[in-house]
């Protein structure tokens, strides 16, 4: 029988969203202030691990975008790679970033850099969450067998 920690369960839901929101803020401000895709992705991993500790790795996996850590990581790499493609339209080499209109707040501008950093964010989140969930799963299986 699984032991439940009521306080943790109650705190998990708001905490999960707060950590995710913070990770996205860190991702977006990264271009001008400390932050960026790598750190943001790591913070998001912490949120996923929190969920896995409380509700189990399967539930945490389900909460991920795309529903699986592996798919999230693959999509991240794909997004980062695709962000370099529009450069070809303007006759520039691969991954020459293009800058669009300002979003009107916090110095944010629409750009392929943002897509690239989002790809980094997703790849880090997916890959490290995949490792963590896999390890927790092995660990739970071991505990069950005892």
């Amino acid at each position: 029988m699984k032991a439940r920690v009521v306080m943790l369960e109650a705190a998990a839901k708001p905490l999960y969203w707060v950590i995710l929101a913070a990770s996205i803020v860190v991702l977006l401000r990264g271009h001008n202030e400390p932050g960026g895709g790598f750190i943001g992705g790591l913070m998001a991993v912490a949120a996923t691990i929190l969920w896995a500790v409380v509700h189990g790795p399967a539930a945490a996996q389900k909460r991920l975008p795309m529903g699986s850590a592996r798919r999230l990581a693959v999509c991240g790499v794909a997004a980062a790679a695709l962000s370099g493609v529009p450069a070809f339209v303007f006759g520039e080499p691969f991954l020459t970033h293009l800058w669009g209109a300002s979003l009107g707040f916090a110095e944010l501008k629409l750009s392929t850099v943002m897509v690239f950093d989002l790809g980094v964010f997703m790849a880090v989140w997916g890959a490290l969450a995949g490792y963590a969930l896999g390890l927790i799963e092995v660990d739970l299986a071991q505990a069950d067998e005892q």
Binding site: I39, A73, H97, V113, G126, G134, A141, Q142
Partner: protein, 766 residues
């Protein structure tokens, strides 16, 4: 290898699909003919690929390339048609056509490439597709073994070739083959260039099955017959010869080059012929005679003079035109009579008249009888040998080669079809369909046709010769039906050949006993030994290095790092200095104290969970150091990583503890070896940091990025701008590695999970 019994499964290709599959070589042949008819040779095609690396997709079609292209696509058409009939109904036939098409494209790329690295790329592609084609009947162990052998031998040769090409390109400062052949003769004979030459020769010798790498070719006969005809007689094994001929103008004046080619070529020709006499399997007999022909070609490349170059071109063409049909014939006999062992075959002309006709025509050309292209080639070769100063061994080897070629032609074309040895078990043999008799007949007829009207081949051979010799102009004596001195030499060859043919069986028995002795020390058994050694060496290395004891790993890694850095520091001791003393700020000192405190505490604790928290403290301490050292980004990352790490590890440890398996760390209080290593490691690292801090700091890079970050990439966070913009390609590679490592780890993780908790299988009650 006989094709599996024809069972028409749902995967078998329909007649229409098979017709469609034959299109690629037809289109390729048409394109080659169109180019030859409309364009002036040599034709250069260059696309820029990676200009910063000096890497261009450079292609060049000259006479030699045109000759190879015609053989690749022309014999390719015959092979594809033959394959459509030979493997009709085979469920994997589609795969065969895909692989054959890929192989053909790789060959076309290889013989037209004008850039050393482009050539190598296609060269490797032919090795890989050949591996898959030899292993086509992958359910049989012999085919898998033969494919592995072919790949290992030609693949290792490919590595040698790559090294040789790179050295050549570096030394000459030019990668274009058409320019290299003019540059290399002017270069001094440095050791580097000699190394390149030797490595390139090794690569060519493995590909063209030259002694001592000859053994893989007959074993590759495990491939389906169309593959053997295409790869192992007409095209791929000629690549080595092609490369040698291509580079001959560059290295031709080197004594090492000339004598190695002559010696290895003659040895291969002689040895291949001896081994052909040993075999009873028709296909393997043909394979050994192919080895002998390749040896002759290599020897001819080694000979000086235009005559030798013309002989190379002519023999390349003639061999393709008679050996491919003979392979088809062997396949037809296998198909129709169910065996290729010559003892059980005889008198097949009644049951297989068309195949017999094709065999006879091809055999005439192989034996070099008048009115065949083989005869013309004999004439050209004789000419080359008369003009070049050829040493006696090569002369004898070549005569023996001619004689045994006659005997092999006799076996393949006469013995199995006309003579009846009395133990014929193939009374139920039957003729094959038009797709199986058409290709050998057409190719063999071409060989005869060129013998009757040699001027059709004249321009092609002349063009090929011009690209093999340094001179611009060259007059080839007309290829013609002369009945001069060649007849005398032919008579000698024919006489010896007829004797070998007549006494094939007694010779075979005599050789068998000798060859058994040689077999024990020969290259094939050396290969087996090496292959068996590989896993044993790997296992013992793994056992001694990856023993699974973590303290052992740390000790080994720490000692290695200490020794390397220590040696470097001591070596450069007189140029290094310590920095001036500086009082640290209060924050920095506090952070350092925190880290040191954590390290000291870690020594006193034996509970794993507490130890983990203390390690976290050390991590936070070093993150604080970054905060005060002006690297907030790094500090931010460090804090996050430390937190995540401590949470994950703690959750695992808590689980283990609940299971009662979290033993505390039980180590002896003092381990002298580990202590000595730790102190040395700490001292060396501290010394390194101090010395590096004393070095003058070159601010060029950080100044540059600090300056251009905002105007060019619109970001003030320089670290992030470098990551996502200036060095975005590196970052893309890094996240791809992270993602791929997860994909690799997932199989391990799920295996570990299933190991402790086997997947719930449907229960079967006993």
């Amino acid at each position: 290898m006989a094709p599996p019994a024809t069972t028409h499964s749902a995967h078998a290709m329909s007649l229409g699909a098979r017709t469609l599959a034959v299109l690629p070589p037809v289109v390729a042949l048409a394109a080659v003919l169109w180019v030859l008819a409309t364009q002036a040779l040599p034709l250069d095609l260059v696309w820029s690929w990676a200009p910063s690396l000096g890497l261009d997709l450079a292609f060049r079609i000259d006479g030699l390339a045109a000759l190879m292209l015609l053989m690749i696509t022309g014999i390719g058409v015959a092979v594809f048609v033959y394959a459509a009939g030979y493997l009709a109904g085979d469920p994997n036939q589609k795969r065969l056509f895909v692989l054959l098409t890929l192989f053909m494209l790789a060959m076309i790329g290889c013989v037209t490439a004008d850039h050393l690295l482009v050539l190598f790329m296609f060269w490797e592609a032919t090795s890989l597709t050949s591996f898959l084609l030899v292993g086509y009947f992958h359910t049989t162990a012999a085919a898998r073994k033969a494919a592995q052998q072919a790949l290992l031998v030609t693949g290792s040769g490919g590595l040698a070739l790559l090294a040789g090409l790179i050295v050549l390109g570096q030394v000459a400062g030019n990668w274009r083959i058409s320019e290299l052949v003019a540059i290399v003769p002017t270069l001094p004979h440095t050791p580097a260039l000699t190394t390149a030459l030797v490595l390139i020769m090794i690569g060519a010798f493995t590909k063209s099955a030259q002694f001592p790498f000859h053994f893989w070719l007959p074993n590759a006969m495990a491939a389906p017959t169309p593959v053997s005809a295409y790869l192992h007689s007409a095209t791929m094994v000629k690549l080595g010869v092609y490369l040698l001929a291509r580079l001959d103008p560059a290295f031709g004046e080197w004594a090492l080059w000339e004598w190695t080619l002559k010696l290895v070529g003659s040895l291969t020709a002689a040895w291949g012929m001896v081994l052909a006499l040993r075999e009873r399997d028709l296909k393997r007999i043909l394979a050994w005679s192919t080895v002998a022909t390749l040896g002759t070609l290599v020897m001819l490349v080694g000979l000086r003079g235009e005559g030798a170059a013309a002989a190379v071109g002519a023999l390349l063409l003639a061999h393709g035109l008679y050996k491919a049909p003979l392979f088809f014939v062997a396949g037809n006999i296998d198909h129709g009579a169910g065996t290729r062992v010559i003892d059980r075959l005889g008198g097949l002309r009644k049951q297989m008249p068309w195949t017999a006709a094709a065999a006879l025509l091809a055999g005439v050309s192989m034996a070099g009888l008048p009115l065949s292209f083989g005869y013309i080639v004999k004439d050209v070769i004789l000419d080359a040998k008369n003009t070049a100063d050829i040493f006696t061994f090569a002369q004898i080897a070549n005569t023996a080669f001619g004689a045994v070629a006659v005997a092999v032609a006799g076996v393949a074309a006469v013995r199995v079809f006309w003579r009846h040895p009395g133990i014929n078990e193939s009374c139920e043999a039957h003729e094959c369909g038009p797709a199986l008799v058409g290709p050998p007949l057409v190719l063999a007829l071409l060989g005869i046709g060129l013998g009757l009207f040699p001027f059709f081949a004249q321009d092609l051979i002349v063009a090929a010769t011009v690209s093999m010799i340094p001179a611009d102009e060259f007059e080839l004596a007309r290829l013609s039906l002369s009945l001069g001195p060649v007849l005398g030499s032919l008579a000698v060859t024919l006489g010896i050949g007829a004797l070998i043919y007549a006494f094939w069986d007694p010779l075979h028995q005599r050789l068998e006993s000798i060859a058994l002795g040689i077999g024990r020390v020969g290259m094939a058994s050396q290969y087996e030994h090496a292959l068996a050694m590989l896993p044993r060496v790997a296992a013992s290395v793994t056992r001694s290095l990856q023993h699974g004891r973590l303290p052992g790993y740390v000790l080994l890694a720490g000692t290695a790092v200490t020794a390397l850095i220590g040696a470097a520091l001591i070596g450069a001791a007189d140029t290094l200095a310590l920095p001036a003393w500086q009082w640290p700020g209060l924050g920095l000192a506090g952070a350092a104290a925190l880290t040191a405190l954590g390290a000291l505490l870690a020594l006193t604790v034996s509970d794993r969970l507490v130890l983990l928290l203390i390690v976290g403290l050390i991590g936070y301490g070093s993150a604080l150091i970054f905060v005060f050292a002006g690297a907030p980004d790094v500090a931010f990352t460090q804090f996050t990583v430390e937190t995540v790490f401590v949470i994950v590890a703690a959750s695992v440890l808590l689980k283990l503890k609940r299971m009662g398996r979290a033993r505390s760390v039980r180590e002896p209080w003092l381990r002298p070896g580990a202590m000595a290593m730790s102190i040395a490691f700490g001292a060396v690292t501290a010394a390194l940091v101090l010395v590096v801090a004393a070095l003058p700091f070159d601010p060029a890079l950080s100044d540059y990025f600090g300056r251009v970050s905002v105007p060019e990439a619109f970001g003030r966070n320089v670290v992030n701008v470098v990551l996502v913009d200036f060095r975005a390609l590196d970052t893309l590679g890094e996240i791809a590695v992270v993602m791929l490592s997860l994909l690799a780890a997932m199989t391990l993780l799920s295996a570990a999970r299933d190991h402790v908790r086997p997947r719930k299988a449907p229960r079967s009650k006993p």
